[in-house]
């Protein structure tokens, strides 16, 4: 999607629909909406080429609020429906807006398949680690032992790690950001758009009604710098309030080290967006309490797009076999005449 023929430059307001926004006051979804509306004008895509497809969930109400083509579909199926949209018209900029429940519970199968097929759609998953719309049951990303409406004694499910799921499904682009990190969020939306192929962006999102503070450690001014590792391609992995912490590889295993105590930036892991083995390590960070949470582009790889291959196949077939002659096809190979 690189059509940049839009005549007058677009602004944020062009993407605001006439519908009342109906999320709870304070919901993290507001910020994601705002950043999206801010970012879209900069993508060089005419407004009418944007399509937002969503499933069901608080997050999935998103398309109503974007002044673009929107389809609020059924629970979990947005990746499949968006695949149809993109194959039908590869010239559109197709976005899937989904939640942790919509994408990873009922929609898990469509998610992993669209990732492996590498259809050029942009998937933005709002991860609030809860089912918001149905009023607070644990989700597949909720932490083990979580007490919710449906797990009064604590949930027994080990959670998914969304970037791991995506990488395991051959995803060609995996990134993570947070609702409240507005600039980072905007940057990630741009990267998602730029990536050709299926992009998977996990957005940590606060549900202040049913799971308030789930990401406080990554948001609160006091502690966030010590808990967040902002990934930058080609740069060593340094973090911390005082920029004095880093990540070093010990065998296969990453470990947190203090810079200074005989360790310099040169000893640290350097981020390489294009290395799938490294991406695997980074995805596992969140399962180790001693490691910070990586934000940014975890992995990016160039692979052919499904819908482009389809077009190529059609064109080659036309070249080889000629445009189809339907009247001839109807006749088939064995006919006979009756006078």
């Amino acid at each position: 999607m690189t059509d940049t023929s839009a005549a007058t430059p677009l602004s944020r307001k062009d993407f605001v629909s006439d519908q009342d926004v109906r999320w709870c006051p304070g919901c993290g979804d507001y910020s994601i909406l705002a950043q999206t509306q801010k970012t879209m004008p900069d993508l060089g895509v005419p407004k009418e080429k944007f399509v937002f497809v969503a499933g069901i969930g608080c997050s999935s109400r998103f398309p109503y609020y974007m002044n673009a083509f929107g389809f609020h579909t059924i629970h979990g199926r947005a990746p499949a429906i968006a695949t149809g949209v993109k194959i039908a018209n590869p010239d559109l900029s197709v976005w899937v807006i989904t939640g942790d429940g919509d994408a990873l519970s009922i929609g898990g199968n469509h998610l992993i398949h669209v990732l492996r097929r590498n259809v050029d759609i942009n998937i933005v998953m709002f991860n609030n680690q809860i089912y918001g719309l149905t009023k607070g049951q644990y989700s597949p990303t909720s932490e083990f032992g979580k007490k919710t409406k449906s797990s009064p004694f604590g949930s027994l499910d080990r959670p998914f790690n969304p970037p791991s799921v995506a990488l395991g499904a051959q995803s060609t682009f995996v990134a993570r950001t947070i609702d409240s990190h507005t600039h980072h969020l905007q940057e990630m939306l741009k990267r998602v758009h730029e990536h050709k192929g299926t992009s998977f962006l996990e957005v940590y999102q606060n549900c202040n009604i049913f799971n308030d503070g789930a990401f406080a450690h990554l948001k609160d001014r006091e502690v966030k710098d010590d808990n967040v590792l902002e990934l930058k391609h080609g740069e060593p992995m340094i973090f911390g309030k005082e920029k004095n912490k880093g990540i070093r590889l010990n065998g296969f295993n990453p470990e947190m080290v203090k810079i200074g105590t005989g360790i310099s930036a040169d000893d640290l892991l350097v981020h390489d967006e294009n290395n799938r083995n490294l991406a695997g390590l980074l995805a596992n960070f969140t399962e180790d309490d001693s490691l910070p949470t990586p934000l940014g582009v975890i992995y990016s790889e160039d692979q052919p797009r499904y819908e482009e291959l389809m077009i190529e196949q059609i064109e080659e077939a036309k070249k080889k076999l000629g445009e189809g002659d339907l009247q001839k096809l109807l006749a088939g190979t064995d006919t006979w005449e009756v006078a």
């Binding site: 519908q19 389809f71 199926r77 499949a80 695949t83 189809g324 096809l329 109807l330 006078a339």
Partner: protein, 610 residues
Amino acid sequence: MAEKNVEKIESVVIRFAGDSGDGMQLMGDRFTNTSALVGNDLGTFPDFPAEIRAPAGSLAGVSAFQLQFSSKDIFTPGDQLDALVAMNPAALKMHIKDLKTGGILIVNKSNFTAKNLKMAGWESNPLEDDSLMDYMLYDIEISRLLANATEDMDITSKTVERSKNFFGLGLLYWMYGRPIEPTIEWLKKKFKKRPELIEANTRALKTGYNFGDITESFATQYEVGPAPFESGTYRNIVGNHAAGLGLLAAAQSSGLPLFFGGYPITPASDILHQLSHYRNYGVKTFQAEDEIAGVGSAIGASFTGNLSVTASSGPGICLKGEAIGLAVISELPLVVLNIQRAGPSTGMPTKTEQADFFLSMYGRNGESPVPILTPATPGDCFFIAYEACRIALKYMTPVFVLSDAFLANGSEPWIIPQLSDLQKIEVSFAEKEDGPYLPYERDEKSLARQWAVPGTAGLEHRIGGLEREHISGNVSYDPDNHDLMVKLRAQKVAGMIREIPPTEIYGDSTGELLILGWGSTFGAIRTAVMSLRDDGKSVSQAHLKWLNPLPADLGEILLRFQTVLIPEVNSGQLIKLIRSEFLIDAIGLNIVRGEPYRKSQIIEKVEEIL
């Protein structure tokens, strides 16, 4: 060479039966083609074994192909067999019961080994005891004959053994006076790259033909003359294939790209296979990860302005229900082909049934009306698929097509339609006008909303599965609006009654008994009615191609008959609707054996009534 009689007869029903590996379907196809070329009317019925290839020689591994060819109009593959070819003891065991007393029975004696006999459950060798006394038995050592016939050739014994179906074919060609040249031509094309197969199979074909000619035991040849066809160019066509062509024709007529999203399932997969060949027609086939993604992708493509289709069978149709409901409420065009098979659950995947009518009608939550069409014959699948596309596009709605395994795999001679004769499918997309775009404004007559396709500047809008407000298309929980929308959706479908041509009645338009059918029972009912009328019975036939809505004239027609009989290959579905709608005491015929009806079953029922 002995002098042979030639006996003229009207119709012949033959069946080839053998192991799945024996090439019975191919034998059937060739015989069908050749018979078509000599101008017979035809009906075919392939009967595959259960899905997995069972051990050679087992009962479960038997594959069969039945064929009726005739010098008059026929409508089915026939009931009782005039001739049976049984390539092994298992095939004989499974099929002998359908052979007429006095019928011709050809068996490959070479295969009647002790092991094979035991596998098939014969206590003793039927070729050696008196079990087959009622038939004209020709037990031929085909394998040995072929080995002899190919001694001079440089081909493996395996290849020789594999060509035995062509021996059988040749023999039957002789018996029914058919030319062997078309088959030889076909072999040449088919095995262009493997000349040894051309040679071996041609030799087998000729050996079989000559065997009939030379051997004393075959005293009679039968002649089945050409049928009185309408003039035109014909081909033989299989139901699923016709459906695929119908979709393509609709795409061409409407000027829309064809998108097919589906997941393989017996007996619908062939449509996916066929369409995947049509890349040079711009057809996009998407083999999805599951049934839901199949229909989901089609809905996405429909939203984006393609002519979108999904196809499946029972279990898959169940899974698609929720998504089809989304297409209903978002009023997007979509064609859903249900190639019905025997259920419930996985059931008998290769067997036919008509038990998914109510699943199509009611298998979604809420009030979720859809039009339902159903083809009567294999060739009709073309026209019904085409019509389904036309209706979907005109009314912005999902449309069900109810075919079944019998239609899907069966074939008939088909006069090749001229594309220019088909009712043109007109499609117009919404265009930018003044003011905000209102996606749920409707055409006054059809009640269809407009199709506003992503990419069109100024038509940005949002649809979805929550209840929509009339005209604006915004989400609405207003009680009055909901009641209105429920009614509008129902009226839109009810209004399609104007698309339905007057119901044709075969026979008198008033009388003692009307047999009302739908779908693949057409041929059996027609044949039965013809024969009952020949016997002077007051029986007529009406056959539905629209199941929802029902034709406008139906109620009045039903009242013109004393009794209405509704045969269905289910436990009674259409009959429930007819009784409820017209409050008449219609009678059902409901034999659910995974098989199409036989003429005799219908006649028996009629005789019980009259």
